[in-house]
Amino acid sequence: MGVLVNKDSKVIVQGFTGTEGTFHATQMIEYGTNVVGGVTPNKGGTTHLDRPVFNTVKDAVNQAGADTSIIFVPPAFAADAIMEAADAGIKVIICITEGIPVQDMVKAKAFAATKNCTLIGPNCPGVITAEEAKVGIMPGFVFKKGRIGIVSKSGTLTYEAADQTVKSGMGISTAIGIGGDPIIGTTTKEAVELLMNDPETDGIIMIGEIGGGMEAEAAKWLKDNMRKPVVGFIAGQTAPAGRRMGHAGAIVGGADDTAAAKMKIMAECGIHVVASPADIGKTMASVIGK
């Protein structure tokens, strides 16, 4: 089962016929994801990758029963795509697009909050429930089935954590890439809460980075809700203040959003914090007794 996506998810791809959409939809289908079609305005009625193309998300919901969407639309139009999906009744909206203007996300996030949906991203690798559904751009083979959940702001660091988990004799239930932008749909705390309530997840790996207050918020929630062990890592211990490190959200603004401050509060709230990214897998193995 896992959380957010599973083998029963009916997935559509927004930006289906573009280069990125085509490449990753192909990979998702090969993985076994139930891709029921895609949306490209003015190409409705045609087929692509043997699946129907719709003009609107509403058509995809009505005609193919879509409940999950993955967005590869270019940055200028991505916030619009998020709002279209939310308005059409899509339940899980996963936005991969990187480089969306911040003011667009202020609007899209507020709009999505008025609808009955969960937004993941933007600027994220997506969500994978191992051996059921890959709704993202991650290399599927890394995520062997198991009972460890991952929440991460970063793409390749998620793959790294999954790989170490598998090499340490465990596997992955669901990995959620929440994204590295200043405004994202689902926060660290919300994603951790989903996995905490998932009966098929025994332990959680929480990977954050400098900037913002989401890890501290998650840690404070975990202090009272720690029913499974959580291993945490914060990237950017060596990042200087005031410099943006790749991700739009990864910038140290004040004393509270440095890696050291986040690691301290996480440890105080009972999270097993590792200093080295090389220790994520083996630490999880030792805390859950593998």
Binding site: Q27, V106, S154, A250
Partner: protein, 407 residues
């Protein structure tokens, strides 16, 4: 993207935000012409001459070549303008924000003096607009304590800092603008002018896709005008696609030339002060790799994210950029190949290494993911002086050995 004060003021005027009037110049002759033009308009012999660099703290900053000269000067004669312009133009200004190396000044803003006498008291306030990441709303932050370092005010007198959040999809509402004017202690004409000022400024913030606008000081003149005397503005890089005119305001001379060069290869590079260079795919893994270098006893020399396409061309560009830094004693390449195949990256590393020819520091290549074993074999069989690793912990050990001079 940061813009200069004179550019920010031009942009504010488009939204009817009153600013201190001025003329940007690049040489002494133009500075003198600007002086006569402004003093004849204002009827005052006083003008303010301000060095145009992207860093703050100019008023307290000093010119390296002429230490008695600060970056902002009030002057009252053509002779003064000439002297100050000569002191500043082409010279280097060091402020609290520039770092010890300072910034070369190539432009001056000659601006009207707003501190004239009149019927009421002059006042300096502080006001900025930015995104509150926690509330996911834009916030207007303002204070009665203008003209000084706002972080100090926040620390010493937090009760003098006020905040007004603006609901998503809404403009600044009238009651909010009035709140701001009341909290700043204004009445009469000054109150009305402040309401207009903040309303228009918020429209500018949204209309320009700014990520931050800071007005310090926000000035009330002796005749109750509300004026932006200084303005720092940071524009959202992601939104520049819909503002082609703003894109042209970029001043590359304000940026690190190596970082600009990296950007041309779609590499995201930030120069740091350490001794171990690194090249990584993905921003999070790049930061994590830097942290690992530190834990292994080194100091990261840079942040470098090669993004989703690590091929021979980008790897070579990355090598060249890292090796410009003479402090670099070793380089760690850390690629998690997902969609990118590790054997392709390995071939790219080998090709780049051969093209470069003269690499005489240890190179450690850690390739994990798709075809990692094949990649390792390629590196080992290449006969190059390159260390290969698959696990992150192995790579950390190799970095430690390299720093200790063991490989």
């Amino acid at each position: 993207m940061n813009v200069h004060e004179y550019q920010a003021k031009e942009l504010l005027k488009r939204y009817n935000v009153p600013t201190q009037e001025g003329i940007a110049v690049e040489n002494v002759t133009d500075a003198l012409n600007a002086y006569s033009q402004i003093s004849s308009q204002t009827g005052s012999k006083f003008v303010v001459v301000k060095a145009q660099i992207h860093a703050g703290g100019r008023g307290k900053g000093r010119m390296v070549e002429v230490p008695e000269q600060s970056g902002v000067a009030v002057v009252k004669s053509a002779e003064d303008v000439e002297r100050v312009a000569k002191n500043i133009l082409g010279n280097t200004l060091v402020t609290i924000q520039t770092g010890a190396a300072g910034k070369k000044v190539s432009k001056l803003l000659v601006a009207q003096d707003m501190y004239y006498d009149g019927p009421s008291d002059r006042k300096e306030f502080y006001l900025s607009i930015l995104l509150d990441r926690t509330k996911k709303q834009n916030v207007i932050m303002y204070s009665t304590e203008g003209g000084m370092d706002i972080e100090e005010v926040a620390h010493n007198t937090p009760d003098r800092i006020f905040k007004e959040w603006v609901a998503p999809n809404m403009s600044l509402q009238g009651y909010q603008a009035r709140n701001i004017a009341f909290n700043l202690g204004l009445s009469g004409e000054a109150f009305k002018n402040m309401v207009k000022f903040v309303t228009n400024l918020y429209n500018a913030y949204v209309g320009l896709d700014a990520s931050m606008i800071e007005i310090n000081p926000l000035f009330k003149s002796a005749d109750d005008k509300i004026i932006a005397v200084d303005c720092k503005m940071d524009l959202d890089d992601n939104a520049l696609m819909r503002h082609p005119d703003l894109k042209d305001m970029r001043d590359k001379s304000e940026e690190d030339p190596t970082e600009v060069e990296a950007g041309e290869f779609n590499l995201n590079y930030v120069k740091l002060d350490g001794n171990v260079g690194c090249m990584v795919n993905g921003a999070g893994l790049a930061m994590a790799t830097m942290d690992m270098i530190k834990l292994a006893g080194g100091e990261p020399a840079n942040f470098l994210d090669v993004g989703g396409t690590a091929n021979a061309q980008t790897v070579e560009a990355g090598f060249r950029i890292i090796m410009k830094d003479p402090n670099v004693k070793a380089i760690l390449i850390n690629i998690f190949g997902g969609i990118v195949r590790c054997d392709r990256v390995a071939a790219g590393v080998i090709e780049a290494y051969n093209n470069m020819g003269n690499i005489n520091i240890p190179i450690i290549v850690r390739l994990q993911g798709t075809n990692a074993e094949v990649a390792k074999e390629l590196i080992v069989n290449s006969g190059l002086k390159v260390q290969s690793a698959i696990q992150l912990s192995e790579a950390a050990q190799l970095v430690q050995d390299a720093i200790a001079g063991k490989n």
